[in-house]
Subunit: 416 residues, 2 copies
């Protein structure tokens, strides 16, 4: 099957919107073993007709996004029908759904919205519960009179409308049309604490030897998803390889991110964590509180950016800062232990380091950081880490490492 | 001038990489009044030849990204030359630069890299100080024997190599080729506190009446950039309109984000801020400390997620939480004033609210938040705000509103 994607939208070409739909769709299709062979982006308006006319001569399936709105510039429906030589007509059911959408919101539908209910004969409306623009499926047979045999899916541009339509309508239909893509499964193993090249070195050769297994890597923020797709037996074999080679580095098998795994585990155990942050300046607390339900396991965070804040809030002895420096094993440990005492939590994470670009010394260059984990039932553990390469990256990787220390503790895994 | 963009890279179609280069380039070109008429993404390999052959029949200028590496799949150079009917040959200067690049890093160049120094006759090498892949400029005249008249720019895919090449080579050459785009200027006015539609309502009609002014909106995280481009006099006129209609909502005219503006202003004034966060869970502190030099103006942050943390750390009276609720005017005010006292800072921001999805009540639904600004020289000010629509958005818009209260105070502007 050859599949192409056409995105319409002047805002995409002007760069005012980043085309995240395309990347997301690429991942969804790749998970089913389907690779997009070309993606074309054209402005709103009639340019879409040329792009469709070209694509239908090359592709078996064409997915279009955008241009289904009510304005004069929204021409995807019209252009697709024109290429196939079909007339549009108002579909009573689609019109009723549209009117109900407005009525439900206490509004009267404007006459301009009527065109959103236009459907060519043989076309199938794809419902859109999240917006006014219904999608359309135009089976390949509709182009027969023009000598064409390309199935088309017309989908809305806004991601919150686009994504459910792809998941609920487009992919099930595709798999129905091309049963060879049915029965495939996909598994994501989220890895943290190893770089992409380290992951490749440890597993790629073995994974590539599994017949029928498709392998991909999605780089996340501080983690990497290893994507395995294919027949269930091949994916299961691949999963076994990743688990045996990377075992403790596997954070989740269901795409949950590190902070979600940590929060879930703390809730499960009925334990609490507190954090004391210098160089990350609130990032660890912010990541924990990104997770719904965090209040059950997190009550206290301290952003002790200044030295006197470390002493006053966490009980760090000023002479330790004097002797060892604020960025030191001893201060990190004292911050974590002070945080544990003040908060009454079961675990406390603390980090102190040099985010840069200024403040580095030859002994402690920019990027140096100490991360400590205090625990009521075990001695405090401190790791010295080094993340040069920019302030954003530093904060991300430092918070990731601290949360990963906690994850390992919560699952009884060794902390490197 | 008709300009098209071709991105090569299987990773773009698989969705493993989001095409941020395309959005960035769109913005750079739009700033010069140039709109990309089509963007095509093809996988690595020979598919690029077809895409080039089609584009050169439509466009005056074609910018290509990616496929300039040393592997067998990197075929952009070869395909472009083939379409133009040109032979590639090693360029001694490009080869020397490439060898020097490796030597500087203490490495010996592999023979596979030689192909990166191949140039067709009449092609011009565009230097790439950030990677091994030199760019290429193929003037429109090179296609004359094939009846073509499309100038091509071949650029590397990695953003840190791509962006400088666009800025330093491609745009200057484009403006040289098409002098009507020279002498244009661009201005960005960053607005916060108003939604895109409110901005449109207030300025669009007047801005569209300015002859030769091109208008765009770039939605940021909690702010909107109004982009004005055109002749300097038109841009200046447009700028005047935005300043007069939106005045105090204009955060910066140099693309500095809100937290940067706030940190810069605090440094200028020699003042400090502290923060006490409940529902934002460290996001305000994290945004402040994203800015290099934040340690001069920020020493203390409190993430008082639990009620007892608000009392213990900030001196909030437990009976106020009892009587008014943790999400209340009185508790927000007490948090800010307590934070001011404990930290010794000049200003303190505090927020308390219901991020959701749980915890809402009929009187205080999910999204309700109180933000307070305490100031040693003025009475504490408290705003009640409402940001339903998801936890991420809630944290973003709440932190944005709190920082905006401080910005207004620091610049002597009224807080709404």
């Amino acid at each position: 099957m050859t599949i192409e994607l056409i995105n319409t939208g002047t805002e995409l070409l002007l760069g005012d919107t980043v085309n995240t739909n395309a990347a997301w769709l690429g991942q969804q299709l790749a998970a089913h073993g389907i690779e997009v062979s070309r993606q074309t982006i054209v402005p709103d308006g009639p340019a879409i007709r040329d792009a469709i006319a070209e694509a239908v001569t090359r592709a078996d399936v064409l997915i279009l996004t955008g241009g289904l709105g009510p304005t004069n510039d929204d021409l995807t429906r019209e252009c697709a029908s024109e290429v196939l030589g079909l007339q549009l007509d108002v579909d009573p059911a689609a019109l009723a759904t549209l009117e109900a959408y407005f009525a439900h919101r206490g509004k009267v539908m404007s006459p301009v919205n009527r065109k959103q209910a236009m459907v060519p004969p043989g076309g199938e409306v794809l419902t859109n519960p999240h917006g006014t623009a219904p999608g359309l499926y135009l089976p390949a047979a509709l182009g027969r009179s023009k000598g064409l045999a390309c199935a088309m899916f017309l989908t809305p541009g806004p991601p919150r409308e686009f994504k459910p339509m792809i998941e609920n309508h487009v992919i099930p239909k595709l798999v129905g049309l091309y049963p060879e893509y049915a029965g495939r499964t996909v598994s994501y193993l989220k890895i943290t604490g190893l770089g992409e090249s380290e992951i490749v070195d440890r597993v790629e050769r073995d994974l590539e030897a599994v017949p029928g297994l498709t392998l991909g890597y999605c780089l996340g923020r501080g983690d990497v998803d290893v994507r395995l797709s294919g027949e269930p037996s091949a994916v299961e074999q691949g999963r076994g390889i990743v688990m045996s080679k990377l075992s403790s580095y596997v954070v989740s098998e269901d795409r949950r991110i590190l902070e979600q795994v940590v929060v879930d585990r703390l809730r499960e155990l009925g334990r609490k964590v507190a954090v004391a942050e210098s160089c990350t300046g609130g990032t660890i607390a912010s990541r924990i509180t990104d997770i719904s339900g965090a209040s059950e396991i997190f009550g206290y965070g301290f952003v002790t950016y200044a030295n006197d804040a470390k002493c006053k809030e966490l009980g760090v002895e000023p002479q330790w800062i004097q002797s060892d420096g604020a960025v030191s094993h001893r201060v990190a440990q004292a911050m974590a232990e002070g945080c544990l005492n003040v908060s009454g939590a079961d675990y406390a994470l603390a980090v102190t380091g040099i985010a840069g670009p200024n403040g580095g010394t030859p002994e402690k260059p920019v990027g140096t950081v100490f991360a400590a984990l205090a625990d009521r039932s075990q001695p405090t553990q401190v790791r010295k880490l080094f993340f040069p390469g920019g302030r954003d990256r530093f904060k991300l990787l430092t918070s990731q490492s601290a949360l990963e220390m906690l994850r390992r503790r919560l699952f009884g895994l060794e902390i490197p």
